[in-house]
């Protein structure tokens, strides 16, 4: 079963020493942490919000809150995981404020994709295509579903954490993940018989076709 990315081999841009100093109240250390983690926080926020302008606001919010709360951050989680939770929470708040009727434009920047150098070219090319399409599909998805699938399937947060930060039940998080995966699959790899399932997806469905 998936866990918190505790042992994740992704390199953590937040250096332990800086985190310790920031926790002790060193303002310069916190600023250096912001500089080191900003791009990652911004990436998450962009994926959650669907555009870069809102993402920058959410990230700023998140760092302000992180700054106020850093004393309460315990070293038992990674700093970035802790920060991602705050970003998720701020994004949920912002999406709630933004209201349900605004549909996001697909952000061009999200479609510019470079690639790893360490794969065989064929697989690499097909993955790149998949990722471009998956980003477009995510951006076009109802935000309630998008937020959950991004946090779970891209960022590997647990349902428990996701539920806590979004202010929903774990069951609701699981239901949304289920619906989100179904929609992504049906959109990216359509099959005969998908249509009937898609009809149950609800009022947000008019977002489909925006791309």
């Amino acid at each position: 079963m998936p866990h918190q990315p505790q042992g994740d081999a992704l390199t953590d841009p937040a250096d332990d020493e800086l985190v310790a100093r920031a926790r002790a109240g060193d303002r310069h250390a916190f600023e250096a942490l912001v500089a080191a983690t900003y791009a990652d926080a911004f990436t998450l926020a962009t994926r959650l919000m669907g555009n870069e302008e809102d993402a920058a606001d959410v990230v700023q919010d998140a760092y302000l809150r992180a700054y106020r709360a850093i004393g309460r951050f315990r070293g038992d989680a990674r700093f970035t995981t802790w920060l991602y939770r705050i970003v998720a929470n701020c994004a949920a708040t912002s999406l709630g404020r933004r209201g349900r009727h605004r549909h996001e434009q697909l952000d061009e920047a999200l479609l510019v994709v470079d690639d790893h150098a360490d794969r065989d070219p064929e697989r690499k090319a097909s993955d790149a295509v998949d990722r471009v399409r998956v980003q477009a599909a995510l951006a076009a998805m109802p935000e309630k579903l998008r937020v959950v699938v991004v946090l779970r399937d891209v960022y590997d947060l647990t349902h428990e954490v996701i539920a806590a930060e979004l202010g929903i039940t774990e069951t609701a998080a699981k239901v949304r993940l289920h619906r989100a995966r179904k929609k992504l699959r049906a959109r990216l790899y359509p099959m005969r018989g998908d249509a009937e399932g898609e009809d149950q997806v609800g009022p947000d469905e008019d977002v489909r076709g925006a791309v």
């Binding site: 079963m1 998936p2 042992g7 994740d8 081999a9 992704l10 390199t11 303002r27 310069h28 916190f30 600023e31 912001v34 500089a35 900003y38 791009a39 990652d40 911004f42 990436t43 962009t46 994926r47 870069e52 920058a56 990230v59 700023q60 760092y63 302000l64 700054y67 106020r68 920047a109 999200l110 510019v112 994709v113 470079d114 690639d115 790893h116 150098a117 360490d118 993955d127 998949d130 990722r131 399409r133 998956v134 980003q135 699938v149 399937d153 891209v154 960022y155 590997d156 699981k174 993940l177 289920h178 995966r181 992504l184 699959r185 990216l188 790899y189 099959m191 005969r192 018989g193 399932g197």
Partner: protein
Amino acid sequence: MVRSEAVADLGDAGRRIAGLTCAEVTDLLPAAVDGGVDRRRLDRRLGRHVEQCLRCQAELAGYRRVLRALHELRTEVLLPPPGAVAGCLAALAGAGERRAGAALLSGHRTAYLGGLALAATAAGAGAALVVVSRRRRAG
């Protein structure tokens, strides 16, 4: 018998294979793709159904590809617009000063922010998106 029957079953969601209809399996696949279906007996039936049913095999393959593409997104970092980091630091400084009083650190901070802003601008000139090859753990 199994295989030809399965081919004939393509699209027939009401037909049972391994005790499950395709409609039932379809609903389990989004969770099954990363092991989220945890009742053992169901797992086994699900596995047998998928093994014998080309339709559900294809659908499961679709979920696998979606999940793989989502995992891959994790290795990308979007480059923030120029000035975003500096703006955020300035907002933090403002918040800090409101709390702690202006006297502390102000000289230092200006120099520091300037440096960061320069760095951010230089980086921003490069590309809209940087992809770092961070390694995800396998699987």
